[in-house]
Symmetry: C2
Subunit: 441 residues, 2 copies
């Protein structure tokens, strides 16, 4: 281990030394931290729920106790962000005040209340040869979370990973480096008198993307990577990782309004899915309308959304009905606006809607509004997305709304976890086999 | 689609044209096939079990009916293999005769008997707001299998993927190109009068690794890659894939013999785990022995294994007890011999055994022999492997032995699937949400 910088030492390094260390040996620093995380993970996997919960409570208390420190460190990020010309919205996401520190601490206490999935016997079979084979839920091991901007992710993800028995390597964005580093130090020192190994929490105190690139090679030490942020970051991770990645690139969510829809319900669902919180991934970006419903429904919807400040775009058929719609381009069908913009298409039938969504959508969340259950089944079975809705807003795709508790993120991947990724998504299983001397013949 | 070569056209291309097409446009060929597979997957996901089973039966019948064709195409591979100087063992693995074709057809009929996992409601919750949220098992979509040598993989994997509702892209090794191509054509033509879309079965009729590299970029069309073969192939896939990969590099499996073991049972388990079929991934490569049991147990084990032709290596302590053991090197602890070689280490206790296995093992299958249940629990909880055994041979890690039916492979990854990967491992889930107009507040 000679020549490596220990994580305690990293903790003490002031920012003016960071540049020097980076140039010294990013690879060794990252490798060292991953090795410590792996060793800690093996210990943490055996820690009982009550001890993990005690550690989480200690973390929550420490955040509140150190709120002045957290806010003063955060002020450095805010100052740097202003210098760098971050938008007001970005600065707002970055900012910590007492209420937000309180919300972070409360978020950890919410995770304490969740059931620990580790140890659950998922299936148990007795084989003809007498072997008892239990499939038992276990932590994954070491999870790396690579994220941007909002500092609360540091606390949320630390709590979820530790509760599910995983060591976690956190790598935040440069905009929040002081804030994230302060939160990390606070959480780590809170672990000191608990049964959770301190090394189970690692924070890469480097802003360089080269550190991410090094991290993504360490498939011997790290079991899973979850990138959270813009599509650029996520594509960088997906293209450079040897470690399995759980991700979603974007949320291009649709609402399809059938000719058999209750049109008042359809209006409320479209309005909610677009307007209630347009900047999130489960907000609707497109509305598809059955050609028989369009003449009656589209003008009503357009009036309602216009009044809410939504810019509307449409295909030729939609613009024939409401000529004030802007002309939709091919690119519009692929685009996640994350804004008060909506594109509308008129379709022939449910099959047409399903085909459009499977071609242009992002496999996130899509809804049908119809009173015909057979038609709903065609949509729900046919649309290849993580969450498919009948007569409800797409906005419900969320760990809490689904009853899973807090989430590390949302997956539009098909393997390991799909949709909201909560505590169970942070586990795997092993087969425990109990015999009495069985050998294979 | 202009300029692409359709898959029907690919079917008709004789080998003398292959080189030319390859140089023309590997990327376009692979892209075209992946696109066809994706479109077919969306249709296949909706095909009921009975229709998938009928298609599988048709495939099994066709293999047997075309056995003369399969064997004559296989003879070309065998001839080329002899020219290329393949070992007798390799040629034997490659060879098809009537019995092996029959076994392939029977293997497909065994898959017919397995329960279709698609459509199973895994969990169902009713939320306080009235939303009913069902987590429903679905096919993954498009699965690519990249494999080497044995031609039966073509039929096995095709059957498992189609039964679980997935389109499959098969890419075999160059040694079996004629055989794999013949099996593929036979299976594909057998789908023609069934409800399973013919395009759900794709075969990359190119031997170039460049074709694999192109395939691994197509994360928009392919949902999962399963490499089966040597460590070199698997590392190439893991390092070059943007698509999630399920894999195992190797099986370095251990048996730990406690001082509290029934030593006769321990002898039988060690013998079986090493000798019964040494060339497979769940065979034991190392035996760890508690220092208090070694003096009595090691000479007995060494005599038994020597008589079976096993070369034994050992650490210093083991060689003090049985001086004829060869000296083990550091590299030995990491090595999967796949041969009648075994390395023996004397350890202080179960914690020592667990630490050794977690450091040097491959997270595949490891066993403890002991009559002490507490000690067994320490081992089973502490060893971070897909399958952990108490008083049984590691040789049972297998889809059939675990009651999962046939398997696509074994995973030592921690995410998506761990251990044998059967039909359920070829599925994912979606959330089907049923509302009555719910919007988010």
């Amino acid at each position: 281990m000679d020549g490596y910088c220990s994580s305690e030492c990293l903790d003490r390094i002031s920012s003016r030394w960071r540049a020097k260390i980076k140039s010294m040996n990013i690879k060794d620093i990252v490798l060292k931290q991953a090795g410590l995380a792996r060793a800690a993970a093996l210990k943490l996997a055996l820690v009982p729920s009550k001890d993990k919960d005690a550690a989480l409570k200690s973390m929550a208390r420490a955040l509140w106790a150190k709120r002045a420190f957290l806010m003063s460190e955060n002020a450095k990020d805010i100052a740097a962000g202003k210098m760098a010309g971050l938008s007001a919205a970005m600065l707002d996401r970055l900012m910590l005040n007492e209420a937000r520190v309180k919300a972070m601490a409360d978020g950890i206490l919410d995770v304490v209340k969740l059931k620990d999935p580790v140890g659950e016997i998922i299936t148990s079979v007795k084989r003809p040869n007498g072997l008892r084979i239990n499939r038992v839920r276990t932590p994954i091991g070491v999870v790396a979370i690579i994220y941007e901007a909002r500092p609360n992710v540091t606390a949320d993800c630390a709590a979820l990973c530790l509760k599910s028995g995983n060591a976690v390597i956190l790598k935040g964005g440069k905009e929040a480096l002081y804030s994230n580093s302060a939160i990390y130090k606070t959480l780590k020192s809170a672990l000191k008198n608990t049964k959770v190994p301190v090394e189970a929490l690692q924070f890469i105190d480097l802003t360089d993307r080269a550190a991410v690139a090094e991290l993504l090679k360490l498939d011997q030490w790290i079991d899973l990577v979850v990138p959270r942020g813009g599509e650029g970051l996520i594509r960088f991770v997906a293209e450079n990782s040897r470690i399995p990645v759980v991700k979603h690139y974007k949320g291009v969510c649709h609402v399809y309004v059938s000719d058999k829809a209750d049109l008042k319900m359809a209006e409320e669902i479209c309005y909610n899915a677009k307007v209630q919180r347009p900047g999130v991934c489960n907000a609707a970006e497109k509305v598809l309308i059955h050609e028989k419903a369009a003449k009656k429904f589209l003008p009503v919807l357009a009036a309602r959304l216009s009044a809410a400040g939504v810019e509307m775009r449409g295909d030729i058929a939609a613009r024939r009905i409401v000529p004030t719609l802007k002309k939709a381009t091919e690119q519009d069908w692929y685009t996640e606006y994350l804004d008060l913009i909506l594109t509308i298409k008129i379709v022939k039938n449910v099959q047409d809607a399903v085909a459009h969504i499977n071609q242009y959508g992002s496999r996130h969340s899509d809804a049908i509004v119809t009173s015909d259950h057979k038609e709903a089944a065609v949509f729900l079975k046919g649309v290849d997305s993580a969450a498919v809705y009948h007569n409800a807003s797409t906005r419900f795709t969320d760990g809490n709304e689904f009853g899973l508790g807090a989430e590390v993120g949302i997956s539009t991947d098909k393997v390991h976890v799909r949709g909201p990724m909560g505590l169970e998504g942070l586990t795997t299983y092993k087969y425990e086999v109990y015999g009495s001397g069985q050998v294979r013949s």
